[in-house]
Amino acid sequence: MLNPPERNDDANLPTAARDDGTGAEVPLSVYDLTVAYHRKPVIWDVGFDLPAGQLIGIVGPNGAGKSTLLKAVMDLIPRASGRVRVFGDTYRENRHRVGYVPQRESVDWQFPVSALDVVAMGLYDKIGWCRPVRKRHREQAREALGRVGIGDLADRQISQLSGGQQQRTFLARALVQDADLYLMDEPFAAVDAATERAIVEILRDLKERGKTAAVIHHDLQTVPEYFDYVVLLNMRVVAQGPVSQTFTQDNLQKTYGGRLTLLDEVTEAMRRRESSL
């Protein structure tokens, strides 16, 4: 028999209780979460508690399961096991308190809608089934576009926006959702310097208003500058904690260096077994 994959128990146990006595709810608590595609685990026994009111970076190499983690939290993909609590309850129950910013490449930018239409989508939940988008909703969307600095592009068809402007449109949509917890999938990917600064400002503004944002991030150099708290992920949580203590050379080496060889071995063995049957 193969040994179970090596586990770093410290990293996987919740570090904060459901109610830590400070009165602040835990925005997102994940315990023992495993997701697999075709029986190949993508994330394995992931657990963490995110601190409220902070900017959290989720960092790890390609294929570490960062997007999968966010999607599994929001029930977009089935999970093999594990438990997710959003503000102390199931995701379903507190769905309206969560804002999602998907990867920019996940949608078709040729779609016949304007930037304003896309931002107004953030309000659909509040508008409700079968009710039309009204003028005041459009005003709200226009104002959000102004906040991300592209108010003058509201009526452009979205393919006529630059990559950075498209990303700002997505952020404006998240802003009108007025959530308490934001989950963002690589908002900084392939944007210009001005957009990057604008996004950072939006994130800080959210923090000032007491919101929590968990952001998948690729650029290691900017992590200490942008984030308060970091979750280092490579199929499992390698380390998590305040950036100053956790974002160390040693932990990064563990995250990015040497892949999880035992886990690779066991999945490879499983695959061989199956194909020989």
Partner: protein, 451 residues
């Protein structure tokens, strides 16, 4: 009928050489339009969700549903046919998804497997039962819209073709679906993940759409058949997509195109064969051909993706660049105090064709930027200012490329030559600032002031 004089008038104005009867042809056009509108309402979302082929698959795959329902009830007008079609239509969508997920095949292959198998099964059942019952396989494949006005039901004391009633109901249902769920359809089509996190399940929207596609396919069968119905779903919507960048407008255009292709299709079916001495041809076929023609027109002339528009834009741009080059080259000639060149000499210098040189010069003369002196070309005051701006841009770029971008002096000319056409006042000011307001370019030629 009140329409008779109008049609007679059209007949006089256009010698189309066919006869028209409102009782028959009028209904055929109405039924064709209803079928096309009902289909293209949903087709917009099939196109935008990149599921056009799934629409194709479902319209084919519902055949066994129809055949079995027909076998069981022995009538063509039964609700059982709709139920059968919806069941098989949904099975197609589910199977396709399942084979793709479990088998690891791509969606196209998975659809190819599902719908051909189901379609073939339907054909086998049909052919087996066709002898025993009154159902013609040809009808199912190609439709028989010409015969639909003969099968009537009484509505409010009037005889109305049954197909018109059925299609009207389906059209209303589809229109209500699109109107009521416009917002939800837009969201789930554009960003299914976000939609699902907001509680608008994109899966349920998907299956809702598939149910209506199946129902619409059955309703259209009798008129246009199972093969041509997919043209109704996809072609008007795809053409509308070429013509606008707003979803609401796209749907409106697709409805208009659907009606136009139905009317045009029937008129063409009656008239085209008559021109070459035959009797009329199949209307449903001609509707699809007309829709295809409209799509082709949209693809060529459309403002967004139109081939022709792109071509014209490119031509205009290259013409503008040639004008720039003429003016700049005249300016440089003046700088060196050379004799003004002739048009022929300049054309050779700029590698310009005779035709484009003539057009460019005509434009420049009309705008009063270039004047003729005997057979030689000279800049006017306005033209000189334009030339000065261009040469300034060019030399500032050369300076910038050497100074800031670290390019070698031998490569900068070609780049600057390209950039100068797209450099405005603001950009020039910034370039001057970046390069510390130089007075000479890297080749030692003076950089003219801003005019």
């Amino acid at each position: 009928m009140t329409g008779e004089p109008f049609v007679a008038w059209i007949g006089q104005m256009l010698p189309l050489g066919f006869s028209w009867s409102w009782g028959l042809d009028g209904w055929i056009v109405v039924i064709g339009s209803l079928a096309a509108v009902a289909s293209s309402l949903l087709g917009n979302f099939l196109v935008l969700r990149k599921m056009s082929m799934l629409g194709d698959a479902i319209t084919h795959a519902v055949l066994p549903g129809i055949a079995v329902a027909f076998l069981l009830t022995q009538t063509r007008s039964s609700p059982a046919m709709f139920v059968g079609a919806v069941i098989v239509g949904l099975l197609t969508a589910v199977f396709t998804e399942w084979i793709r997920g479990a088998g690891g095949v791509d969606e196209g292959a998975s659809m190819g497997v599902v719908f051909t198998s189901l379609f073939a099964l339907g054909l086998v059942i049909l052919v087996q039962t066709a002898d025993a019952v009154d159902l013609d396989p040809n009808c199912v494949l190609y439709g028989s819209i010409e015969l639909t006005p003969l099968d009537t039901v009484s509505v409010g004391g009037r005889d109305v073709p049954r197909a018109a009633v059925v299609l009207a109901v389906v059209t209303v249902v589809n229109a209500l679906f699109v109107l009521l769920f416009f917002k939800e359809l837009r969201l789930t089509s554009f960003d299914p993940a976000l939609a699902t996190t907001m509680g608008f399940s994109s899966k349920w929207m998907h299956y809702g759409l598939m149910i209506l596609v199946s129902v619409t396919a059955v309703a259209c069968f009798e008129s246009v058949g199972s093969i041509l119905v997919v043209a109704m779903f996809i072609v008007p919507a795809a053409a509308a997509y070429m013509l606008t960048d707003r979803l609401g407008v796209m749907i409106a255009i697709s409805i208009a195109l659907a009606i136009v292709s139905a009317v045009l299709g029937h008129v063409l079916a009656l008239s085209v064969p008559a021109w070459i001495g035959y009797r009329s041809t199949t209307t449903s076929g001609m509707i699809a051909v007309a829709a295809g023609g409209l799509f082709f027109a949209a693809a060529t002339l459309g403002p967004r993706h139109g081939v022709l528009v792109k071509l014209v834009r490119r031509q205009l741009l290259s013409l503008r660049i040639l004008c720039d080059d003429i003016v700049a080259s005249l300016f440089r000639g003046e700088e060196l105090e050379q004799q003004p060149p002739t048009a022929t000499w300049l054309a050779g210098e700029l590698f310009a064709s005779n035709w484009s040189m003539k057009t460019a010069l005509a434009m420049l003369r009309r705008r009063g930027e270039v004047a003729d002196q005997d057979d030689r070309l000279q800049l006017t005051h306005v033209g000189r200012e334009r030339g000065q701006r261009l040469v300034r841009s060019h030399r500032l770029w050369e300076q910038y490329l050497v100074d800031r971008a670290g390019s070698g002096a031998e490569r900068i000319h070609d780049q600057a030559e390209r950039f100068e056409h797209f450099t405005d006042r603001n950009l020039r000011d910034e370039l001057a600032k970046e390069t510390d307001t130089p007075v000479e370019d890297p080749h030692g030629r003076p950089i003219p002031d801003e005019s």
